[in-house]
Symmetry: D2
């Protein structure tokens, strides 16, 4: 499991006083991309990039700025050109559970491409 | 079906040049809340408010600023205190399909509460 | 003057029930970049890109989702490699006045570069 | 001076590969509101709230996700019902300098109101 703290921002809170549901997905793709970049993904110039094909979130408890959330990342399924992540968000309790599918594609053609090494190796370590 | 045009913004585009996956969920809760407000929901002072319990999106095609997307809203299931919406996003083609569950709660106690009339009546018209 | 309608989103509203101050700047760089793209700027592959060097906003009146704002763009000063825009946001009244400075730089070196034709010609038309 | 670390998010980066200018203002109102809340401001139920009347930013250097920025907050001018903050954003270097004016108003009437104690006392400590 890979974990990252994410600090909340004033405008995360919506009219109802808590972090808006949309931002939870931003926490998902933040922890995912942070892990990919640490694993060697070059988001600016690399040939292969990861695009979101599907995502899901079940909301368990509200949270509000100020504070921070802890994002916990695991890999549920590792295919040849796609990966499915499982993510949990926590404060002092479980806030949300979600999953997210990345398909790796060629940056120029946007055709699917194998997950490059060493990213695959790193993803396998979260399985 | 209820449809709304949503104009894209410069910062919707991410490093890979297209609208970030997270924003699609923002388009979902924009079209949903717009319909609820037209149906009589008072987001500032009303007793009942809708909180997101679960959401999902399947991404079909990319889209990029500048331009606009059309959000199409239907109701899949209408319960006593919850509603499940189906949403499609379109440009000149289908961009994404998703669903979203609102649970209505009391603004103060955050305990579940029946969907108030006339909102229920309006939601039934989208079934 | 160049004008564009920008539709508001649910999460633009913050805890205090109105569009958060930060989003006003998003409306600024949306109308600016929309005009630049119409003028021929290639945001994905062009050699010259515009980076924000300075911006300012005076907030005159609140506005809230749902609805839309009209952004009005003029050019205050057109230099060799930089441009200063003046922007107004309106609903049924004046919401905000701001200004924004773009410096054009080479995409790779990030060194300042002359504003390319035909973008300069188009900017001159807003002076 | 009051300082807070703010973690960057994937979607902060825009098409040009760095944190979008708009987000800098989000960092401003995050550090400001965090200080106000620590000083006793009740954003959910308090009578007095702070609304942004004017803001400004000079951009000195780019920064990109992943990573974090440090926001440094001082008070430039403390009036009876308004306060002007000076904010700096740093990574390993100065990223931006800005200022931001809050006018305190009554939550219901939105008429200007004196800055409540003990918030005033806390703001004076940053002068």
């Amino acid at each position: 499991m890979y974990t990252r703290a994410i600090t909340l921002r004033w405008k995360d809170n919506d009219v109802y006083g808590h972090v808006n549901n949309v931002e939870y997905y931003s926490f998902f793709d933040t922890v995912i991309n942070e892990y990919l970049i640490e694993s060697g993904l070059d988001i600016h110039n690399g040939t292969a990039i990861g695009l979101c094909a599907e995502s899901h979130c079940t909301f368990k408890a509200p949270v509000a700025f100020p504070g921070q959330v802890e994002a916990r990342l695991r890999v549920d399924h590792l295919g040849s050109s796609s990966v499915r992540y499982a993510i949990e968000l926590h404060s002092d309790r479980l806030l949300a559970e979600g999953w997210f599918v990345h398909v790796f594609v060629d940056r120029e053609t946007r055709q699917s491409t194998p997950i490059p090494e060493p990213i695959r190796t790193c993803l396998a370590q979260l399985s």
